[in-house]
């Protein structure tokens, strides 16, 4: 029966939850040492003193589909609806370094995001949007250096100084090998390109975040403690690689940002973020000897939704993302993307996208959650759970270190196998009813009308391919060839590839052409076929 309740509950990470928490559970805490005031080490209570009283989190909805012109229209719509930052979804060919007319791209152009082949497309996406007035986040990884170079070139054409453009490129290749699968090159050259972008932004783009170390491990199956552990372990790998490049820790640590998943396990999610901030602060200060407080702060964005959304009774997803958004507001994150209720079917309709943004606005403006800093501090349960999460996360991180670090663990497939095993366990628990999802394995209704879903423009692919043909015909061919030859030569060396990529982009070389030259030098990653 649905009404039966087991006597012992556990968090999703497997820690027992007590029936009652009391003062005895938090008696060991020294608030000054273990929590700190908001804005103070170890930042359990938040990374800024005034948190949302100074500024709400950035409401940044992921959008982009079809042609650059369609995406430009959706962006203007979202900005007009009160959105405060842009987040660009790219189609898979762009993410994987194929042009829209490549054989590999057939059927995928403009599907899960917008297609970008050349600088001309980036110009069209931001037509009429002043780049000194918005911050833009690009979910782009293997081709991040190329898209960053394009964005900077568009700003320059708008007359916006590069010191004023602000945003983020995801540029986290480790999680592509571990969970998301959008890699191109083998692990070592991928890491080299990541660090090229970190180094370039650190020295040239003072307001741009060169990496968003992301937790797609969670959506692939990891539990919340594993999610935080894998993501912070990847952060450690990037810090080591960048220090090895010769940058001092305090020169770049404040530019690192993180991206997580939040599901409906409300208190555990809050504890996860509070524990993550404490672990990162201590790592940066004690292990990496960073001296600037800005280097100790875990700047975190998140998505509310992901695998927690269901196809069954899709309107329930609005309730889920509302709970998740409440959790991140209690946890004090810096930027939030609320997934739309129809994302388990397709990319969102305009109505679904607006409703998702409204969830955040209602949490921010109608509830009282953002009217004081860290409202749950001192709760017996929350502080105790924060300690439990910290123990679980640091335990997993120590295991990764003992196995040679995150890069080694990914090379050997350890992380991938662990995640696949967790995903299988979760599905069996769902099928067996131990995990309960309303409308799926609990209170399931038979007659369930599907929502109106977004239908891609069937002409988008042909339009994009036609535009690309025109571009190829009209550009300076020798300039393109010279730029691509230079890039290939530099890729065989060891220097930072950003200047050569910028030159190629400005000559209107395409994403596919630039990636193709790099493929020639670096080769491609070979994915494992085990499961």
């Amino acid at each position: 029966m649905a009404g039966e309740r087991p006597k012992q509950h556990h968090t999703r990470s497997g820690t027992p939850i007590k029936p009652l928490y009391t003062a005895a559970d938090t008696a060991h805490l020294d608030p000054a040492r273990d929590l700190g005031n908001p804005g103070e080490y170890p930042f359990v209570r938040g990374i800024y003193p005034d948190m949302y009283l100074g500024k709400y989190w950035t409401m940044r909805q992921y959008a982009g589909f079809g042609t650059p012109r369609e995406t430009n229209r959706r962006f203007r719509y979202l900005l007009d609806s009160g959105q405060t930052g842009l987040s660009v979804a790219l189609d898979l060919p762009t993410q994987l370094g194929y042009d829209s007319d490549a054989a590999e791209a057939a059927g995928e152009v403009g599907r899960v995001g917008v297609a970008i082949d050349s600088l001309a497309d980036m110009e069209a996406i931001f037509d009429g949007i002043a780049l000194d007035r918005v911050t833009t986040s690009f979910t782009i990884n293997a081709t991040a250096p190329i898209l960053l170079a394009m964005y900077e070139a568009v700003a320059e054409k708008q007359g916006v100084a590069k010191s004023r453009i602000a945003g983020t490129v995801q540029n986290d290749l480790l999680k592509e090998f571990g969970a998301r699968g959008a890699w191109i090159f083998p692990i070592a050259p991928s890491l080299r390109l990541c660090v090229d972008v970190i180094e370039y932004c650190t020295t040239q783009l003072p307001r741009f975040h060169p990496i968003s170390i992301a937790s797609h491990y969670r959506d692939a199956g990891a539990n919340p403690a594993e999610e935080m552990a894998y993501t912070l372990a990847a952060g450690v790998a990037y810090v080591r690689a960048t220090v090895a490049r010769g940058l001092p820790i305090d020169a770049f640590a404040s530019r690192l940002s993180f991206f997580f998943y939040t599901y409906t396990n409300f208190f555990e999610e809050i504890a996860k973020y509070r524990a993550g901030r404490r672990i990162w602060a201590r790592l940066m200060r004690e292990t990496f000897a960073a001296t600037s407080p800005d280097s100790w702060r875990l700047r975190a964005a998140c998505v509310c939704g992901g695998h927690s959304l269901t196809q069954a009774e899709p309107l329930n997803n609005i309730t889920r993302t509302t709970i998740e958004t409440m959790a991140v507001a209690c946890a004090g994150l810096q930027s939030v993307f609320t997934a739309a209720y129809d994302e388990a079917f397709a990319i969102p309709t305009e109505l679904a996208a607006r409703t998702a943004l409204r969830v955040q606005q209602i949490v921010a403006y109608e509830t009282d959650v953002a009217k004081t800093v860290d409202p749950l501090a001192g709760s017996y349960f929350v502080e105790s759970l924060t300690d439990d999460m910290e123990r679980a996360i640091t335990g997993i991180m120590s295991d990764i270190e003992a196995r040679g670090g995150m890069v080694r663990c990914l090379e050997e497939g350890f992380i991938q196998r662990r995640i696949a095993q967790r995903a299988f366990e979760y599905q069996r628990a769902l099928d067996g009813g131990e995990v309960k999802v309303v409308g799926v394995n609990l209170f399931r209704s038979e007659a369930d009308a599907a929502p109106e879903v977004h239908h891609g423009d069937p002409e988008a692919e042909a339009d994009q391919v036609a535009g690309l043909a025109k571009l190829r015909a009209g550009r300076d061919h020798s300039a393109v060839a010279v730029a691509l030859d230079r890039l290939e030569a530099e890729a065989r060396g060891e220097g930072n590839l950003m200047p050569a990529i910028q030159a190629a982009v400005r000559a209107y070389a395409t994403v596919g052409e630039i990636s193709g030259r790099l493929r020639r030098v670096f080769g491609e990653y070979l994915p494992p076929t085990g499961f």
């Binding site: 898979l92 060919p93 993410q95 994987l96 194929y98 590999e104 791209a105 057939a106 059927g107 995928e108 599907r111 899960v112 592509e176 998301r180 699968g181 959008a182 890699w183 959506d219 692939a220 199956g221 695998h307 269901t310 196809q311 069954a312 388990a344 079917f345 397709a346 990319i347 696949a420 995903a423 299988f424 599905q427 069996r428 769902l430 099928d431 799926v440 599907a450 879903v453 891609g456 994915p527 494992p528 076929t529 085990g530 499961f531």
Partner: protein, 142 residues
């Protein structure tokens, strides 16, 4: 008795293979021999592997929205090779597209809410309908 052989294919450019791996593990636990293509398998590679490995069922996982062109291409390639193998698709498939996929010749479509037991049962039933031997249970297998 021959064990059922299933090819789990991950065509297209999408890298989200949680579903493909979970289903592959479930089919293996149900006593079947499972071949997983890994990410970004081309339709040509999937059809060729289906032929070479003499599989009884082909399962495809597509989350990118590109299910229709992918299914069309793989069904055509299988037909070209004279392979009469049931093809199942799972992933992020809008309900309206399910009927279209079935009309193309896809044998079954599974959404996010399908249980592993439902998928295992469907694979067994489709394989038998196509004339394959019923799957061995783990106890009697080898």
């Amino acid at each position: 008795m021959r064990t059922l052989r299933v090819l789990v294919g991950k065509p297209g450019l999408d890298g989200h293979d949680r579903g493909a791996r979970v289903v592959a593990s479930a089919l293996r636990d149900a006593g079947m021999e499972v071949i997983y293509t890994g990410l970004r398998a081309t339709p040509e590679a999937i059809a060729k592997t289906a032929l070479q490995e003499d599989v009884d069922v082909v399962g495809l996982s597509v989350l990118s929205g590109a299910h229709e062109p992918i299914a069309r291409r793989i069904l055509a390639l299988l037909a070209e090779k004279g392979l009469d193998v049931p093809v199942l698709i799972g992933g992020v498939i809008p309900p309206a597209d399910r009927a279209r996929l079935l009309a193309l010749g896809v044998a079954a479509v599974f959404g996010q809410e399908a249980t592993l037991a439902e998928i295992v049962a469907a694979v067994r039933a489709l394989a038998v309908r196509k004339g394959a031997q019923p799957a061995a249970t783990p106890e009697t297998d080898g």
